[in-house]
């Protein structure tokens, strides 16, 4: 079996599905790395919940501006043509369905598209929802990047979410370390599976029926160093 994708490779794979001229919002963690791997020639705007429309790469250490940040408090730059709006306007943009694609991390995705990504029920720690519910409920397409299984080997793609939901029936595509899975009206459908991983293997690692697309292809990504 080919080695499962590392985190950067998963981000790379998700990036390949972004289309020209889309307005894209990337969640904290793995998803923000997607911006590094767009297909050549694409002209894409990245929106951040704090109102930046056209976030560019991270700022170089010697040109950091503490007022130029994204929703993850990362010190960023602006791309050509970027604008900045206030939070109420930023979420009007999100809630109004103006974001073409949002790519989020997740703990669990249900076979009906339910998403759980905001609360791990960490004992004693406070809740942190941020903009995840707005993005999940309202972006035109909601994609997830996550490991196919937990560290203990439990499936994250499951029949019904067990953790608190972020939004119902919202996820349409999941990029994992071993597969690209669409969430369809009839449930999970594998579009790509890691070379050497059989359909039966993929199913065994998935907590709900996993159909195999007729044109299912091998999942592959270029060599990339993993994130820290």
């Amino acid at each position: 079996m080919t080695k499962p994708l590392n985190r950067r490779q998963m981000a790379w794979r998700a990036a390949q599905d972004i289309e020209d001229r889309q307005l894209v919002n990337l969640g904290l963690g793995m998803p923000v790395a997607v911006a590094d791997y767009l297909k050549p020639g694409l002209d894409v705007f990245f929106q951040s919940e704090n109102g930046v429309v056209g976030a560019g790469p991270l700022a170089a250490p010697d040109s950091i501006d503490t007022d130029l940040v994204d929703a993850g408090s990362r010190r960023i730059t602006l791309r050509r043509g970027a604008t900045i709006v206030d939070s109420a306007s930023s979420f009007a943009m999100i809630r109004g369905g103006h974001i073409d694609v949002t790519i989020l991390g997740a703990f669990e995705v249900g076979a009906n598209g339910d998403l759980a990504n905001w609360d791990m029920r960490v004992p004693h720690k406070g809740p942190l929802v941020g903009g995840a519910m707005d993005l999940a409920a309202c972006a035109r397409a909601v994609w997830v990047i996550m490991e196919h299984n937990t560290r203990k080997g439990e499936p994250r793609l499951i029949q019904a979410c067990t953790l608190p939901l972020t939004a119902k029936r919202c996820v349409t595509r999941v990029f994992t370390d071993v597969a690209v899975v669409d969430v369809t009206p009839t449930g999970f459908v594998a579009r790509e599976i890691l070379a050497g991983l059989s359909a039966a293997d993929a199913q065994s690692r998935t907590g709900a029926p996993l159909a195999i697309a007729p044109d299912c292809r091998p999942l592959a990504a270029p060599d990339l160093p993993d994130t820290d």
């Binding site: 704090n50 994204d70 408090s73 206030d86 979420f91 406070g126 929802v129 519910m133 939004a167």
Partner: protein, 229 residues
């Protein structure tokens, strides 16, 4: 008398905050925290406050000083989790039942404040339907989709950080400084803005990002550095 909203010190700007007040605090992602005013409110000492702030605990904000000082009875926010594994001061007091918490999706939080300033008592949103954050709230269908009814948030005082102001209270922001500030200014009975500088001439309408009619006091304050910096 010519309108002149300039005051000399952050202390003077928040001198009359009363116990039990509902206080908006701007800032998100590290930009726009009115740390000078927060520290002045800490020193002023008003208690039993309801704090409306995106993050109950943020490493670039001084909100935690109000919390540690026992001035806060309730927090309305979209993020209440401290960054570290240790419990934050907020989390400790919340777990001990000493601070009430309302956690809202961030867009609902922003829109509820905007509604509070815009005379909208309640609105429907698709966000949060079917989740723990809307338990008990009215759900209603429009054109085949479910929405939840959310109520406006209004307050007594808003504390903002901006870049510059003029004597009329008109404000400019740098980059992502604005975030929740403009909505908060409209939803509060009175609003104080701390700024890097006050401009000698009125800010031209082409540069003003928030009309001064929403601002009551402006004060120059160097960015107070929180621990994380």
């Amino acid at each position: 008398m010519p309108i002149d909203k300039r005051v000399e010190t952050a202390a003077a700007a928040v001198a009359d905050v009363k116990d039990g007040a509902t206080v908006f605090i701007s800032g998100f992602g590290g930009a726009g925290f009115p740390n000078g005013l927060i520290r002045a409110l800490h020193e002023q000492g008003a208690k039993g406050l309801t704090i409306v702030v995106n993050s109950a605990t943020h490493r670039y904000s001084l909100t935690h000083e109000l919390i540690e000082n026992g001035q806060v009875a309730k927090v309305i926010c979209s993020a209440a989790r401290g960054a570290g594994k240790e419990l934050s001061p907020f989390e400790q007091l919340w777990k001990a039942g000493k601070i009430e918490l309302v956690c809202l999706p961030q867009g609902t939080f922003a829109e509820a404040i905007r509604a509070g300033g815009a005379g909208i008592p309640a609105f429907y949103t698709p966000v949060g339907v079917g989740t723990d954050l809307t338990t008990g709230k009215e759900v209603r269908e429009f054109d085949g989709r479910e929405y939840v009814l959310e109520k406006a948030i209004k307050g007594d005082l808003a504390l903002l950080r901006a870049d510059t102001a003029d004597q009329y209270g008109n404000l400019t922001y740098r980059f992502a400084q604005a975030n929740f500030g403009p909505a908060m200014a409209t939803a509060a009975r009175w609003t104080v803005a701390e700024v890097r500088a006050i401009e000698a001439e009125p800010i031209p309408h082409t540069r003003a990002q928030l009309p001064g009619v929403y601002i009551d006091r402006v004060v120059v304050a160097a960015p107070a550095k929180p621990k994380a910096e």
